[in-house]
Symmetry: C2
């Protein structure tokens, strides 16, 4: 830890930075895959940083975890079996398991140390890890998806780091083809899709590769996420079938029997609206 | 300019920071009110900083300016006369003047140097300054509103810096009472209302003071704004009458004859949806 009380992450490819005021560094571990650091911040609780990139804070991880899970789950008619690729902090797993009708959730992160650190410094994100419906495994998500039984999953959530380093193979046609095969006919793929302001070209490329792999319908949902570049993020949902991904189980979402901080039926509708510049950019893709 | 190629703003009261990668400092002026700096960034165009606080960048000011103007204008049945208090960069003025039915817009900023710098480094924001419907004046917005003719305005937009320093007097009951008097019976007050994540208590206090001044209806609309704390911002619309501020001229907004980057009818609806934590917090106010 330097002598400044602020920790900054400079996003070189977007030319923008985010920072938090730090009380102290709590922990650091070099796993076989990446360096994981934990800081205590003055205002945002604990902060996990992987290879210099902010992953989660205690106070504001809810935007991301809720939008990565509930939006797709309520877009699917009756999801039973879910796989999370990445997601080692277990926050997405926790959100998925809030749905009583979900039968199984496998979380496959390559790096066990991420989960060990989450258990210690973000215990609230791990509170459902022992749910009998949960399987927390540590393995290569690309291989896991390559070997998954055909038509065995309803939703695949790719909750990964940026498309560089260990996560690079989670953003291409070969991986999407394996996801396509593993999904049931009405299955959905969800992927974190970076900042719509800074990285619209990445969303365009991702949707293009998903389409090449056979996916028929696409929808990018923006949401705030203060600890990520520009403070504005998105997830992209892809459907195996041609369908309107703006249609979701609104009455179920409106009557959700669990507590959230951001997600509700109205915010789901809100995330389906597209700013003018996104409309123009995404019209250029299929 | 320091030897780092990054400019950071540390938001001391929120414990978070935003930064941009800088090519060079283009200009600096100390006005009678504040220090204004202009930087060239690598990815976000030019950046205006006032007393160390980021105000606008070329690339992403559209979120704020469009939401501060079009949302209220389409919420009013037929706005003719608008006053902007602050707004010296002229971006909100430009957006207001995109509405052909608007008859007059007075912009009253205390600091002429802000507008002079905007003319030089953000000329696109100033392109409507010579519109015959525009009056660009430099004076104390508090005094201007105190002396405004009763029931002479349809919309007042408070496009100010944070509630410290010169703008402090724009966030209290006395100022809101002057606004209340200056508005016609169906008039609307719009104020930038900081980050819903970091500063919900400020929104609660503001709505409380607006209510004490006589305003009857309130609505806080969140939107992304990467250069402001947490990257997530809001405007609060207050109505002189008791009315549903979620009702707006949706068909007009959907058929808007001018170009925007963020605002459209769908994004207006989206901004009216409230995250769970905001619903809970704002239920506590009137």
């Amino acid at each position: 830890m330097s002598d400044t009380p602020w920790f900054y992450e400079n996003f070189e490819h977007t030319g923008s930075a985010i920072g938090f005021r730090i009380v102290r560094k709590l922990d650091e571990v070099q796993s076989p895959f990446q360096k994981i650091e934990i800081f205590e911040t003055t205002d945002f609780g604990n902060l996990m940083v992987i290879d210099g990139a902010m992953m989660v804070t205690t106070r504001e991880n809810f935007f991301y975890h809720e939008m990565m899970s509930h939006a797709a789950i309520y877009t699917h008619a009756a999801p039973k079996d879910i796989a999370i690729i990445g997601g080692g902090d277990c926050g997405t797993l926790r959100e998925c398991l809030k749905h009583a009708d979900v039968r199984s959730v496998v979380q496959c992160d390559i790096d066990e140390q991420v989960t060990r650190m989450a258990e210690k410094y973000f215990p609230e994100l791990c509170e459902s890890n022992n749910d009998p419906r949960a399987t927390v495994m540590f393995d290569d998500g690309i291989a896991y998806m390559r070997n998954a039984a055909p038509e065995s999953l309803d939703i695949i959530i790719v909750d990964s780091t940026d498309p560089v380093g260990p996560a690079e193979g989670l953003f291409n046609r070969a991986f999407y083809e394996d996801c396509f095969k593993a999904l049931r006919p009405d299955g959905l793929l969800v992927q974190q899709s970076e900042s719509p302001l800074a990285l619209m070209h990445l969303i365009q490329d991702m949707v293009g590769a998903m389409g090449d792999a056979g996916f028929q319908s696409f929808r990018t949902l923006p949401f705030p996420q203060p600890c990520y570049p520009t403070g504005w993020w998105s997830c992209t949902i892809a459907g195996k079938q041609a369908r309107d991904l703006a249609k979701f189980r609104l009455p179920d979402a409106a009557a959700k029997p669990f507590r959230t901080e951001y997600y509700n039926a109205g915010m789901h509708v809100a995330a389906l609206a597209q700013p003018e510049f996104m409309k123009r950019a995404l019209q250029q893709t299929r």
